[in-house]
Structures are given as C-alpha cells and as structure tokens.
Amino acid sequence: MTSLVPSFDRYQRQMGLPGWGRDAQERLRHSSVLVAGLGGLGSAVATNLVLAGVGRLRICDADTVDVTNLNRQFLHKEGSIGSRKASSAMDTLASLNSGVEIEPVSSCIDAGNVAEIAGGMSIIVDCLDNFEGRYVLNRWAVEAGIPLVHGAVWGLEGRVTFMAPPRTPCLACIFPNAPPAGSVPVLGAASCAIGSLQAMEAVKYIVGQGRLLEGRMLIFDGATMRFCELELRRNSQCPVCGRVGHGKNRLPGGSGKASSV
C-alpha cells in the first residue's frame, strides 16, 4: 500500500525525541504488533500504534459492535453497530495512517488458533476482556518468547505491566486463578489512559528506549488520581513459566534494547 503522506514527515515530532531519530522510526516500521481485543483498551492501543507508525498491526476480536461499546471504544462508530469489530476497527485505523499494514482477524483466541494469530509478531498487547483468553495468550507468549503488555480496567481504575519471562513474571505468576468474566463498568477515559500506557510500553520496547514496566505493575486510579506501583515476583513453581530459565538477562524477540536495568 502506498502512503498518501510522505513517509517520514508525519513522524517528525516523535523523531525529534532525544535519542530517537530516524533509527527509531525504522524500527517501528519494521515491527509487527498483535492487538488482542478491540474494545476500550484496544481502541487506544491500536490508534496510538498506527499513529506512531508500526509496520504491521494485526487486530483481533471476534465480537460485533454493540451500542453499549460506544462510550469508550472509539474505533467503532454509530454506523458500525452490528458490524464485526475487526473490520470496523480496520476502517478507522486505515483512515488514520495508510502507511501501516493492518490485518483484521475476526476470531476468538483459543489454544487451537493462538499460534496462527500471534505468530510472527514482535510483541503482543493484551486488551482482552476475560481471563480465559488472557491465559491462552500468556501461555503462548511465554512459550514463543514474545513479550506481552498486559492491561486491564475496572471503572476508573486500571493496571499495566510488561511481561517477558524469565526477566519478569507471567500472568499466571501474578494471578494463578481468576473468576469468570462478567460485564464490568468502565469509563472511556480510564480504558483510554490504560490503553495509551500499554501502547507506550510497546513503542518503547520496539524502539529500545526508556525503562519498561518489567517486574512492576502500575496501578492507576482515576477516582483518586493516584498512580501506585507494585513489585512483581516470579513464581518458580508457576505452571506456565516456571520452566523458563531463571535470572537470564535477556529479552526475547524484538530489539531487546529497552530494559529496566
């Protein structure tokens, strides 16, 4: 696909960040990201990554757009109610940046299709709304050695962490058990804030800048406007990542340059 806008001009303001330049933009252009879930988090993540100029964005959601999505899921419009989220998101994202290759997938991620959906990606951003799918994605990411940015939201509150065992715990280390999914209250500004933070982590990882949320969970509460940070530890008995070597100082996949050290 040919971009309608000269390729690097549109990124001038981010290429001007100290230490970024054209190299950073080239890294973004050669990266591929899976955004799993195109709801409130996915809207903010996918939009930010497309604007930042990742090369390839695979967007996955099995749902269709419902009227109750529209308070926060700004990838979808009133006219998209009833359409597949993947195709509605594709339309919006393509109109933002024609230079990004967008691959819509209308599937529910499960153990049988996760390799096909997440394979070949530089990084995965988990924007799902249930632990069942999140655990499938987590297990696959651990086994494939691909980093995963976790985000979740409830009401005005949300959490973010960057996971890449063995440097960090995996989702099952932190939450070995989880209740079944239910419909939860969410304000768009909260999912947008958390999704933007997830996109920030993905971009930093790809570009190799900054300090990632490795082994740290950031909690943001919009009700009190407080950010707090939890120190996360691996569970050496973790059934998912316990066999992945301990203490190895490497980041699997991608550029591997960004680190918390």
Partner: protein, 87 residues
C-alpha cells in the same frame, strides 16, 4: 495508622470509600478491623484464591509469613489486589 487501599470492585462494600485507616499492630489485626467495620467484605478478603496482599508495593506471602506475624508500621499502605479483566 496503616492505611488499606480498597480496589474499585470492592468499594461497593465499604460505602464507596477509596482508602481506610485502621488500627492494627499486625496484618491480621488490620484486616480483622476492616472486616468488623465492613462485614460484607469478608468473602472477598478470605478468598485467598483470588486475593493478593501488597504492603508498600511489596507482595506478602500470607500463607508463608502468617497474617499475625506481619507487623504493621504507622505509615504502611496495604493494597488488596484482586484480578480484574476489563478490556
């Protein structure tokens, strides 16, 4: 007094309070004080299948360390972490 930060999904059990200061020399006393103030919280707090406890950002292994052997300090901040999955 130690302060307990109430996560959003549990605020309905505590009159929508964000955080609660409690008397308690140990973690056990602090949590007991919280439950006696808000008995509806009991199921969520005793369900250690889902609940993790962090004090000042560091995880407490309550099974190993024991609720009553974790000593609370004046300015300690207790975070009750339960899984949330909203996307």
């Amino acid at each position: 007094m130690p302060k307990v930060i109430i996560p959003s999904p549990l605020r309905e059990y505590v009159d929508e309070r964000y955080e609660i200061q409690l008397e308690g020399k140990s973690l056990a006393e602090t949590i007991e004080a919280l439950i006696s103030m808000y008995p509806d919280l009991r199921p969520a707090l005793l369900d250690t299948l889902f609940l993790s406890i962090f004090i000042n950002g560091k995880k407490i292994d309550v099974e190993k360390e024991g609720w009553d052997r974790v000593i609370m300090n004046e300015d300690d901040e207790v975070s009750l972490i339960i899984p949330i999955a909203g996307g």
